[in-house]
């Protein structure tokens, strides 16, 4: 059971980004979201290394090693963009000026806890980057992730077993199988991927899933 592919997952999240939003996109599937925002919506992308108004990947040969995003990839700057230093960049994040952040996840709990920076296993080198600042400062946190791990283990679970990035901060989860809202009353399925049944989804989820029409 595949459900949506990566492009479709990104597209689903993109539909929820309103006109005029200030958005920070994480590395991986999250950064694909920008490519699917419907026409007619003007969205401003923030990258925490110091640019508001990130544009698409530059043409081959037009890369500038001093114009990169938080994932260290070459980018461009749109008309109306601006550059700033790191303290000002995290003023935007911590000060609740950014509307939406879309992040990847290793685990999400039914209360909206997120673990996405470390497995906590001895011997691994922890690396956190801006993830903790983003989840504690951005107004709305969306997660995009495969529904289960490559080994088949559920990633949406009652309680995270990996070290947390932040507690009670995820608002919505886009997976290859469904879109799930994190609410005070638990996880609610907002949309099923084609061919995915409630039973199948629940089997692959280690936390109770509710339906809105319950």
């Amino acid at each position: 059971m595949q459900g949506w592919d990566r492009n479709q997952m990104a597209q689903k999240a993109a539909l929820d980004i309103p006109d005029g939003a200030y958005v920070n996109l994480g590395i991986g599937i999250p950064e694909m979201v920008a490519g699917f925002v419907p026409e007619g919506r003007e969205v401003i992308y923030h990258t925490e290394n110091g640019l508001l108004g990130m544009g698409p990947t530059p043409a081959n040969g037009k890369e500038d090693p001093e114009l990169i995003n938080a994932g260290k990839k070459h980018i461009t700057a749109i008309s109306g963009a601006c550059f700033f230093h790191h303290a000002d960049s995290f003023t935007m994040i911590r000060g609740r000026h950014i509307d939406i952040c879309v992040l990847g996840a290793m685990q999400v709990s039914e209360e909206g806890d997120l673990a996405n920076w470390s497995t906590g296993k001895p011997g691994t080198i922890p690396a956190v980057g801006g993830a903790m600042d983003l989840v504690s400062g951005v107004k709305t946190i969306y997660v995009i992730t495969q529904h289960i791990t490559k080994k088949g283990e559920p990633k949406i679970i009652k309680e995270c077993t990996f070290p947390l990035t932040g507690r009670k901060i995820v608002e919505r989860i886009y997976t290859n199988l469904a879109i799930i809202d994190v609410t005070k009353n638990g996880l609610f399925v907002k949309e099923f991927a084609p061919g995915v049944s409630y039973e199948y989804l629940q089997q692959n989820t280690d936390a109770k899933l509710h339906l809105y029409d319950d």
Partner: protein, 237 residues
């Protein structure tokens, strides 16, 4: 589409509510958004808490807002200047509250408010009456006082040029509190001497990124406070 341009100063302040906290830019007359303040006088919101370095001069701008009895409390560093008579009179009569804050602490509290920092420690005012009743703490053998970030419902700021995203540049020492006040308010309202097209401001030189600005109003020929004061003008005219 993002377009933060509002047609008039009047329209830009219409939702300011009674009891709001309002940051007002400017150091003396430099950077004081006089047309926005006058629009707020016309609008009439009352019981305001105003955060601004000074209390205005003569009977225009911030002084006129205070004279019009719209301000319940001033948070500032220097409530008296040359030609400042309105605030002293109300203060002596017990008609306005004053929270006196050292200038650097005021700037840092505003910056902290905008940056999501609820509190920080500073050496300024330790061993003085302005630290009385506040939490003191030693770091590396020196004593510091804890101060809180400030946020506001609105900021009124003046700048030199703006685009429709709300990106701003300022003019000389009129920059002063504008950039930090824009970060610290739910709604930042900015009057600009000129509107420019998107892309005209060099992305390396933008001082206030548009994310910190909600509304922009073009005021091509702003009044000069000092001229109005020397002519003994009063607002409302």
């Amino acid at each position: 589409m993002i377009n933060k341009v509002v047609k008039s100063a009047a329209e830009s302040v219409t939702d300011i509510f009674d009891g709001a906290t309002i940051m007002i830019g400017g150091f003396g007359e430099a950077g004081s958004p006089i047309e926005l303040i006058h629009a707020l006088i016309d609008h009439g919101a009352k019981n305001l808490t105003v955060v601004s370095n000074n209390t205005g001069s003569g009977h225009v701008g911030l002084a006129a807002l205070i004279e019009n009895k719209q301000v319940k409390k001033m948070t500032c560093s220097f409530p008296r200047t040359v030609n400042s008579t309105v605030f002293p009179e109300l203060y002596h009569n017990g008609e306005i509250e004053l929270e006196l804050v050292p200038q650097g602490t005021l700037a840092e509290r505003i910056r902290a408010g905008g940056a999501g920092i609820p509190a920080f420690f500073t050496p300024a005012s330790v061993n003085t009456p302005l630290a009385e009743g506040k939490e003191l703490r030693d770091f590396n053998g020196q004593t510091y006082v804890m101060e809180y970030g400030i946020r506001a419902d609105y900021s009124l700021v003046k700048c030199k040029a703006a685009d429709r995203y709300g990106n701003l540049i300022y003019n000389k020492t009129a920059r002063n509190f504008g950039p930090i006040m824009c970060t610290a308010a739910e709604v930042s309202i900015v009057q600009t001497k000129s509107m420019v097209k998107l892309g005209e401001l060099d992305p390396e030189n933008i001082v206030t990124p548009g994310i910190f600005v909600k509304r922009v109003i073009e005021v091509n020929n702003p009044a000069e406070e000092s001229k109005l004061v020397s002519e003994d003008r009063r607002y409302p005219w």
